[in-house]
Symmetry: C2
Subunit: 323 residues, 2 copies
């Protein structure tokens, strides 16, 4: 009898666990919208049922799965890399944007604009094999820390979004990253951190050449995975339209509209709105990083889900769970 | 007691089924090499153990997973499409290679060379949305028949290779197609035929643009996934070096050498050698389609596995099983 009771208890406990997905999400409109959507499209026989092979969910990375302030974390990587290479380039002390990097002046670095950032990306991300670059990123991500949060960058991923990724996969969705950031900057760590394999990571690309059995990184942009580039990247890498799209900025709007226009299935679009100046950062329409302006209007006009981080997330980062 | 015996019997039957993979392969050097490799790298604790996440297997398509004679099947698609579009292009009756297509002269079509074939590909594969193109291919593949074999093209896949794909997946390998053929020509049917999802299909690419929530196919080549392009395509789509590579021509040699140079793991390289003039086709060093010359020498010098189709395959095509 004791065994039976134990088993019954275990059964209830498991049922309770299954009935409580997304534990770091407060009961609110976003959590309800997500669960309602997943329940609806995974219910066999329902008119909105989506077969497993078509359950494609796409996630932006910067600002959607992890923080992106005061600048995209990849810029910190590029700056650290420039500092490491500086002894071989004495001329950098005199030339912008390298001078600003060596002086640690982030504002001046950002003021160098797209052209300046591209120069930093090229000297820091090319000229080696893909495997050498993997090793450089893997070493950096294990050691480098955020300037104000004082923790490693991978500790600044969003706990509620990790739960969302897991919840979708538990319901047989395939989760993909579709980031404006560099595809090869994410691959060395994103599998472990997000549970997403390298072949499901899409991002901006550097040209490569095959030589002597190696892939060599060439200082040339191949593909920018931002704005209208996101649906294009999805086409090349996934080859079918997603049913769910998650973003946080105007750069994700085309990907989300493309998803919304799925001709076969009910879809879900969700914006993470950065409203928590205390625990994270608060920014939207006027931010130079992760600007959310047109997207916010569009989302409100089209009944998309907009997550109010401050109100809807119990915790932001995984390390808060330990307290 | 009867139940116990039944269970024991069931156990033996399951064990026997598990012990007999690749039923359409004769006991021969290739079957032994494949099974020995898979047993070795999936045995936990073995020095050659490969973790699941790195079990990446890449397959060429034309000549490796299905036949490719007298010309790549995609050329038949392009020709049929040109015939369908001809009423809107009266000028094609006078201009090569369109004239040859309309007269059904495959030899003259092939004699038009790369430039001629590219013209046929562009008029037949571009100018529509990706979803419209999907529908066109899906309709064609269900109805069109091979000129001499008189069966649908998807009936000309290799039964032993279907078993190999299944065997590898049963051992937690991820199987990818890395084809010189068009990525979007394969995607509409390869998932059902090979069990490979669209995001694990890599091939040559046409440029696309995002417009009005659609992906529009532009008459411009973006990427040729052949020879040194194959490792490059693997880098962009998979982001890590494979451990097993399967091909049938010199066009696969770079992909196979790239796999062989894996810095972490024991690897497997296998060439399908077309030696069966009766059941399929026999060709290698002198063939204009699927030429296997340098690759054959390299494979023999490096102890790669070379499948003698005539000797090692019990059946070639799935329909032979039904007799």
């Amino acid at each position: 009898m004791k065994t039976v009771i134990t088993l019954l208890f275990l059964g209830f406990a498991l049922a309770a666990a299954a009935a409580e997905p997304l534990p770091s999400w407060n009961d609110g409109p976003s959590k309800h919208a997500i669960i309602h959507y997943v329940d609806t499209v995974t219910k066999e026989g329902s008119k909105d049922f989506i077969p497993q092979k078509d359950r494609i969910a796409v996630f932006d990375n910067d600002g959607t799965l992890w923080s992106e302030q005061p600048v995209y974390f990849q810029v910190f990587f590029a700056m650290d890399r420039v500092k490491a290479l500086a002894p071989q380039h004495p001329e950098w002390k005199l030339v912008q944007p390298f001078k600003a990097v060596l002086e640690g002046d982030i504002k001046k670095v950002m003021a160098s604009g797209k052209e300046g950032l591209l120069k930093l990306i090229m000297v820091s991300h090319t000229g080696m094999s893909d495997e050498e670059f993997d090793d450089i990123v893997a070493t950096w991500i294990k050691t480098a820390k955020h300037p104000t949060k004082k923790v490693r960058f991978t500790e600044l991923v969003f706990q509620p979004m990790l739960e969302l990724l897991r919840y979708l996969r538990a319901n047989d969705f395939k989760t993909f990253i579709v980031s404006g950031g560099g595809i090869d900057f994410m691959r060395p760590w994103a599998t472990e951190v997000y549970g997403i394999p390298s072949n499901r990571i899409i991002g901006s690309e550097i040209e490569v050449k095959y030589r002597d059995r190696k892939i060599i990184r060439i200082p040339k942009t191949r593909f920018i995975d931002d704005k209208e580039g996101k649906p294009v990247g999805i086409h090349y890498h996934i080859g079918k339209r997603p049913v769910a799209a998650f973003g946080n900025s105007d750069g994700d709007l085309d990907m989300m509209k493309y998803t919304e226009a799925n001709r076969h299935y009910k879809t879900l679009q969700l914006y993470v709105h950065h409203t928590d100046a205390k625990r994270e950062w608060a920014y939207d329409r006027k931010s130079p990083i992760g600007k959310l302006d047109k997207g916010l209007d569009y989302a409100r006009d089209h009944n998309w889900t907009v997550v109010d981080m401050k109100k809807e997330w119990k915790v932001i980062y995984p390390f808060e769970l330990k307290h």
